[in-house]
């Protein structure tokens, strides 16, 4: 298997982008967006995680099979979270009338 060589420049750029993301997260925490604070924090975190997976974990340069596996992992995580949250969403729908 041929290993893709990633240049140092790419690593430093990604590292810098991650630092910016961290700074943004901290800054956003001081702005009161009500319910949207958590949304913004999670969005930044998701972008940072994507950068780490694509570049630091070399997925961008991997085979399609490896990419498929990464996708499957996230789909499964999504299944767990969404169905579990469906429970919390619909638990109160059934109103008991004594």
């Amino acid at each position: 298997m041929s290993e893709h060589i990633v240049s140092k420049k790419t690593y430093y750029t990604i590292f810098f982008a991650l630092l910016v993301g961290t700074a943004l997260t901290v800054a956003a925490a001081f702005v009161n967006l009500h319910n949207f604070n958590i949304v913004v924090a999670l969005l930044i975190a998701a972008v940072k995680a994507t950068l780490v997976i694509l570049f630091f974990m070399h997925i961008k340069y991997s085979t399609r099979l490896t990419k498929l596996w990464v996708a499957v992992g996230f789909i499964w995580l999504f299944i767990m979270l969404s169905i579990t949250l469906t429970d919390y969403l619909s638990r109160a729908w059934l109103v008991y009338k004594p």
Partner: protein
């Protein structure tokens, strides 16, 4: 059909003490075993350790059954809690999960696809050391006084109230989880990248499909177990409010996460055993498995659907009723691929040349017992009936029919089919058949009364019970003793056969598959020359031509060397 020569001495293989060089005598001493990278030797290491845990778990099971002989019990309630928890943890995490993949899968998967080893031999050895480390933590937890939460570790009991060794056992399970992840990773990469020339996906033996589907489940589910156990530890040590309502958590969240692993874990235990049963049925009835592609795909279907049903463990745990409806429906859906397998195995028998040697007895035992286990699964998947039988002996009986009647039958059947291949010696056929029948009778006597007990309202995990349940409990304990004796016979003759068994020929069963085209036991590199596969899975020579070739064709065949020409048609 090309043939790989199976007589190593004729092939000019080097000899050690008058015997052909095989993986067993290629290097001696403890060091050559503990630092081995040979998948076959690692399988033997797993066999020794996992079997030891099976015996330990079995002893706990007998102690539980002894306690239930009388309505007031022998042990006090706290000791009883620790006994059944130890039985559950040892059997689930240290026996059933690794049993078929780590022993039979490790040994056979590379040989079946014509490879020299797994893709990552060192990671394979690491997985055994992870297992040993995790198992050590588990053992320390038990010796230091045990755990009293049940194997499910339900919160808030396990986080806020239990004073037993929850953390130690949790660490053990966390580490053992990584051992299975490493094995799963190895299987997936090996199946994708190391198949011999001509070994296409649909020429793979169904055992390999079963292992592959299991590896998918292991990779996707086991990390969640690690997360769940870590969160439990975090709440127990640092009082972070995740599961405790007093700190803003939700105990049902634990059940969601725990069963997101533990329900697929049921399939980690039973899918590889189903792969074994496909081999047993095909080879012992000398026919291609009916609907090969359906059986292969049903393994994947079970792996995928198995992830979408965890909520059927939460029907009475304040889970939303609407979600319960969906989970109930999806649980029914899993019955379809399972039923495809059972029907196709049965159809394979039709007009086959059926042999009733021990592996086939286990295969048939699996079909019958798994049928009962699976069908009662539909009872407990129904929302209404489940309210009545939740946490009763009905559930205990149901999953023991699946786990013991399914996984254990498959595991033992596979051990008998491949024992000669693994050790170079055959087990004694008469004793093996007797032991299988004893186990079958003992098993049904143990667990069938528990269906009735549960339906009548006997709750699980209780140390004492009303006197009217005693008759059924005594029957169950009697059955457990018979089952124990059956297991003991098997262990004794397996060990006995290592020195005294008849030498196994390369192909004692006239079976199909690459593992039968190398010597018993195989050489370290598995084959003397890389096999080139030009035939479909489960191609059998007609039995008539086998007899012309001097093939005995009856049960005595297991002791006869198979003529070298076997399998050739050119």
């Amino acid at each position: 059909m090309s043939l790989i020569a199976v007589d190593p001495i004729e092939m000019g293989a080097p000899q050690v003490d008058g015997e052909p060089l095989s993986y067993l005598n290629d290097g001696h001493g403890l060091r050559s075993w503990l630092l081995t990278k040979d998948h076959k030797r690692i399988a033997i290491l797993y066999l020794i350790t996992v079997s030891t845990f099976f015996v330990i778990g079995g002893i706990f099971a007998l102690l539980v059954r002894i306690n239930l002989l009388s309505p007031n019990g022998v042990f006090d309630a706290d000791t009883y809690n620790r006994l059944f928890t130890a039985h559950g943890i040892v059997m689930v995490f240290f026996f059933l999960v690794p049993a078929v993949p780590a022993i039979l899968g490790n040994f056979l998967l590379p040989i079946m696809i014509g490879a020299k080893d797994l893709a990552f031999p060192k990671i394979n050895l690491l997985s055994w050391y992870m297992y040993m480390l995790g198992a050590t933590f588990g053992l320390i937890a038990i010796i230091a006084g045990g755990v009293d939460t049940g194997w499910t570790f339900y919160t808030p009991y396990s986080t806020s109230y239990s004073n037993s060794n929850v953390l130690l056992a949790g660490i053990g399970i966390f580490i053992v989880g990584f051992s299975s992840i490493l094995t799963g990773l190895n299987f997936i990469v090996t199946t994708h990248t190391m198949r011999a020339p001509g070994m296409t996906w649909f020429r793979l033996p169904l055992f390999v499909w079963g292992q592959y589907a299991t590896a998918l489940v292991i990779m996707l589910a086991t990390p969640v177990l690690a997360i769940t156990v870590s969160l439990m530890a975090l709440e127990r040590i640092a009082h972070v409010g995740i599961f405790d309502p007093a700190m803003g958590g939700d105990p049902v969240l634990f059940q969601h996460m725990f069963w997101f692993y533990s329900h697929p874990a049921v399939y980690i235990m039973v899918l590889p055993a189903m792969g074994v049963v496909s081999e047993l049925i095909a080879n012992m009835s000398r026919k291609n498995v009916f609907g090969y592609k359906f059986v292969a795909m049903s393994s994947l279907a079970i792996a995928v659907f198995g992830f979408l049903v965890w909520g059927h463990h939460l029907f009475v745990s304040t889970q939303s009723v609407y979600l319960g409806l969906i989970f109930s429906f999806l649980s029914y859906a899993v019955a379809i691929p399972s039923a495809i397998k059972v029907f196709n195995w049965t159809a394979t028998l039709y007009k086959g040349s059926i042999s009733y040697d021990t592996p086939m007895l286990y295969g048939l035992g699996f079909i019958g017992l798994f049928l009962i286990g699976g069908m009662t699964g539909l009872y407990v998947a129904a929302l209404g009936i489940d309210v009545h039988v939740t946490d009763t002996y009905f559930v205990i009986a149901h999953f023991h029919y699946v786990m013991v009647g399914g996984s254990l039958m498959g595991f033992l059947g596979g051990m008998h089919l491949w024992w000669g291949k693994m050790t170079g010696r055959q087990y004694p056929e008469y004793w093996a058949r007797a032991a299988m029948v004893i186990q079958f009778v003992g098993f049904n006597l143990t667990f069938f009364p528990q269906f009735i007990l549960g339906y009548l309202g006997m709750p699980r995990r209780y140390a004492a019970y009303p006197p009217e349940f005693q008759v059924l409990h005594v029957l169950s304990t009697a059955g457990a003793s018979i089952l124990g004796i059956g297991m003991l016979i098997t262990i004794v003759y397996f060990i006995w056969s290592l020195k005294n068994g008849k030498r196994a020929p390369a192909n004692p069963w006239g079976a199909s598959g690459l593992e039968w085209r190398t010597s018993s036991p195989p050489p370290t590199e598995n084959f003397y020359e890389t096999p080139i596969v030009t035939w479909e899975a489960y191609e059998f020579a007609p039995i008539e031509s086998m007899q012309v070739l001097g093939y005995p064709g009856d049960s005595s065949r297991s002791t006869q060397p198979v003529p070298k020409e076997h399998g050739t048609e050119d």
